[in-house]
Amino acid sequence: MSAQPLTVRSATPPECRSCNTSVPVDEHFCPNCSRIQSLGRHGDYFAFLGLPRRLVIDPQELDRRFRDLSRKFHPDFYYNASPAERLASLERSSYLNDAYRALKQPVSRIEHLLTIEGLPMGKSEEGAATVPPGLLEEVFALNEELDEIRELRESGTDAATLAARLATARQPIEAKRDEHERALVEASEQWDRQADAPADARRATLESLRRLLLERNYITNLLGTIEREAAAHG
């Protein structure tokens, strides 16, 4: 099973099925007969919600757009419509729900931006086996400490001592995570300022966003490992 390219767009704008007017892909309704349009191969959640391709989004604005479009697309309101319109309503509502979910959280929002900008994360990289270079030091130290804690646990050391060691081991990782959160926010803001910047500068920002996300996923996994060890202490 492989990932599916999301940015396929029709070369020619699709036509309205009911009046054959050519309708731009980002229009939800036919400008001529105002019928709901079938979804086609849409791939840009920002454009779908009528938002600029920016990473800082006012959550209330996003909620408002989601509600407004839900009121326009939802199958509840197409109960007596033609089968084609009912299908279009179903597809468009499903897609809207996906778009809203993806853009609501900052991390999935960045992932979507990377996808439509041609730098998708790819499923296999999410839990990356290879240690990101920026984390080598922390990972090395943590693994060593975890080994020692495991040995202590097996030799019957009391839970309080183990918990204290684990808490200490956790600190640098958490610090790293906080650092990454800040870096992600900074890179996001930088992207938003670069709307008119040259392509290579924009590309560099996207690449640093991508690197930060990969590291972030790695850190999340490390914290998961610590949690599992903590659980083993009972």
Binding site: M1, S2, A3, Q4, D63, R67, S70, R71, H74, P75, D76, F77, Y79, N80, L90, E91, S93, S94, Y95, N97, D98, Y100, R101
Partner: protein, 618 residues
């Protein structure tokens, strides 16, 4: 077009409501009762009783009477092993297949039993509309509610039940969300609401955000096997245990009498601090049974059950990203929320007094009526955005679940997954669809298996088959597939793991029409017998009257008396049979034979009545 209604198809009780311009109306019977017990009793003759009458039959004819069938909707035989032992009716079916309910020599799928309840509600609603003087009183469409935590198979089973009852199911909606719609009507609601819904057999928690008339569910959780039924069972088991050896092997009638007493004690303890649980004497229980029970003891008994509702509540809050105190309003739904312990624990968890302004038994049906009205009117002031309660996935290499649509995704929702072949020239791929949160396929609910066929022969790994999973606004899944290289749509035959195929539903529909005719015939037969019996009774009474002796001999010749006696005997014989025409014929014959006698007796009594009175007094 006929009428549209909203139906709450409950584990214990069901009811029907509809929308009017002045707001939603719950349909009640002559005595003002809206609740129709979800109990179905099937007589040996084939006559079906639903509701109160069926509930009465639980005490007299338990083995032919089915209750709590909602617990078996869309479930497999293996799921329900543990709970069949206290039930008076047979629960069976093929291993690995759907549950079958056995009544006498007939077997029913759970949706068929639910369809009887739905038909009764439909009949009630039609009677109501007829009484209202509506020209077009037929009810042909409905919104039916289900627990939010119902899986795909359980929802589909409910939709099948609607079809079997002759209803077009406009929409399946979730009970807690329906309740929130009903609450949303009379308030300018805005904010975060938690709906805690503990019914007869199921528990749901839904967290919603309400803004601008959009009711957006943020998360939902629950337990489809937790409700008032379980409280009743605990109390029943308590009594059986205290009866000791006498509690073993009691006939089903007695177990039902104990259950009835347990339910009454539970209800009493919602208001009183103590009550007496008392079971009447019966042959199997010659001393009867009485036992004082305090609320404290009752609460100790049911505490573990109520505690079980709190884990889903915390999970739902967590999924919504909220702390209990961030919830603006807590709404209680379902009859079991009348139990004080439930109220207390919910209040403790959220740190606020729960809202219970509307009747917890009726609020769900009211919400269903509101949603039905939205669907047919196209009015957009209110919109319900619900979620799918469980993740949808497929089984991949090594028996692992790969999730495609995550739980708490707003519906409608779609997902896609790419498949390819493993062998050169392979033209088919098997897909196993699952629902649940667990990592291993065997720990998730098997929804369906299907085979992608018609893949153009290509080297292994080359075909790119995109399978699209669509969950509609009912929370029900459909699947489509396409080979992307050739753009060929694939044929999919979905075999539901715990559901009925379309062909089975069709067959049941035909069966139900046939049985509807049989049921109708059975009713006519009963009517004919009743009429015949009352004539026999009246005739025999006349022959025993003191004045008959005076009349016999001169006004009524012995030959006439003999022919009347002959006609009575013939009619009695006809009543013992099952031929309605024969009963009718014999009834007419007796009527004819007694006509002269009736006239004579009538004149005689008129004479007596008038004797000694002047014409002016008459």
């Amino acid at each position: 077009m006929g009428k549209v209604v909203g139906i709450d198809l409950g584990t214990t009780n069901s009811l029907v409501a509809y929308a009017t311009e002045r707001g939603p109306v719950v349909i009640r019977d002559a005595s003002g009762d809206a609740l129709v017990p979800s109990v179905v009793s099937v007589e040996a003759s084939g006559t079906v009783f639903v509701g109160r009458e069926a509930q009465r039959r639980l005490l007299t004819d338990p083995s032919r009477t089915v209750y709590s069938v909602k617990r078996f909707m869309g479930r497999g035989v293996d799921d329900v092993q543990g709970e069949a032992h206290l039930l008076p009716f047979r629960v069976g079916g093929e291993p690995g297949g759907v549950v079958r309910i056995g009544v006498g020599d007939r077997e029913f799928a759970p949706p068929e039993i639910s369809a009887f309840v739905l038909r009764e509600l439909k009949r009630r609603a039609e009677e109501h509309f007829r009484e209202q003087g509506e020209f077009d009183f037929e009810v042909d469409r409905a919104v039916i509610t289900v627990p939010a935590y119902f899986n795909d198979a359980q929802r589909t089973a409910t939709r099948d039940a609607g079809r079997l009852a002759g209803l077009e199911v406009l929409r399946i909606i979730n009970e807690p969300t329906a309740a929130s719609l009903a609450y949303g009507l009379d308030q300018k609601n805005r904010g975060t609401i938690a709906v805690y819904d503990l019914g007869g057999g199921t528990f749901d928690i839904s967290i919603l955000k309400v803004e601008d008339g959009v009711f957006q569910v943020l998360s939902t959780n629950g337990d489809t096997h937790l409700g008032g039924d379980d409280i009743d069972r605990l109390l029943t088991e308590l009594v059986l245990a205290e009866l000791g050896t006498a509690g073993h092997g009691l006939p089903a009638e007695t177990v039902q009498a104990i259950r009835k007493a347990a339910i009454q004690a539970k209800i009493d303890l919602s208001t009183g601090d103590e009550t007496v649980l008392s079971v009447d004497r019966s042959p199997a229980l010659p001393d009867g049974f009485t036992r004082r029970i305090t609320r404290q003891e009752f609460e100790r008994l049911i505490r573990p059950l109520v505690d079980r509702t709190l884990t889903p509540v915390r999970q739902a809050l967590d999924d919504a990203g909220l702390e209990p105190r961030e919830v603006d309003e807590v709404v209680l739904v379902g009859g079991s929320t009348r139990v004080p312990l439930v109220r207390r624990l919910v209040e403790e968890l959220f740190g606020r007094t729960p809202h219970a302004g509307l009747n917890p038994d009726e609020v769900v049906a009211v919400g269903a009526a509101v949603q039905a009205d939205i669907l047919i009117s196209g009015r957009r002031e209110m919109l319900l955005l619900d979620v799918t309660p469980l993740s949808l996935g497929i089984e991949t290499m090594g028996g692992v679940t790969t999730k495609i649509i995550l739980r708490n995704s707003t519906i409608p929702a779609s997902g896609r997954e790419m498949f390819t072949t493993g062998v050169d020239g392979q033209t088919a791929v098997d897909v196993h669809v699952l629902q649940g949160e667990r990592e291993l396929a065997t720990d998730c609910r098997s929804l369906a298996r299907f085979r992608l066929r018609g893949i153009p022969p290509m080297p292994a790994g080359l075909p790119r088959i995109e399978v699209r999973f669509q969950i509609d606004a009912n929370g029900i899944l459909s699947v489509s597939a396409k080979e992307l290289r050739t753009d060929i749509e694939q044929t999919i035959d979905v075999k539901p793991s715990y559901g009925l195929t379309d062909a089975e539903v069709e067959r049941m529909l035909i069966d139900s029409f046939e049985h509807a005719e049989a049921d109708f015939e059975a009713r006519l037969l009963i009517d004919a017998r009743n009429e015949a019996e009352s004539i026999v009774h009246a005739t025999e009474k006349s022959l025993r009257r003191p004045d008959f002796a005076q009349l016999a001999g001169h006004e009524v010749p012995p030959s006439e008396v003999a022919s009347i006696e002959k006609a009575v005997a013939a009619l009695k014989a006809a009543i013992a049979g099952t031929d309605r025409e024969v009963i009718h014929g014999a009834t007419h014959a007796l009527n004819d034979a007694t006509r002269h006698l009736a006239e004579v007796m009538m004149n005689n009594s008129v004479r007596e009545a008038l004797a000694g009175r002047s014409v002016n007094d008459v």
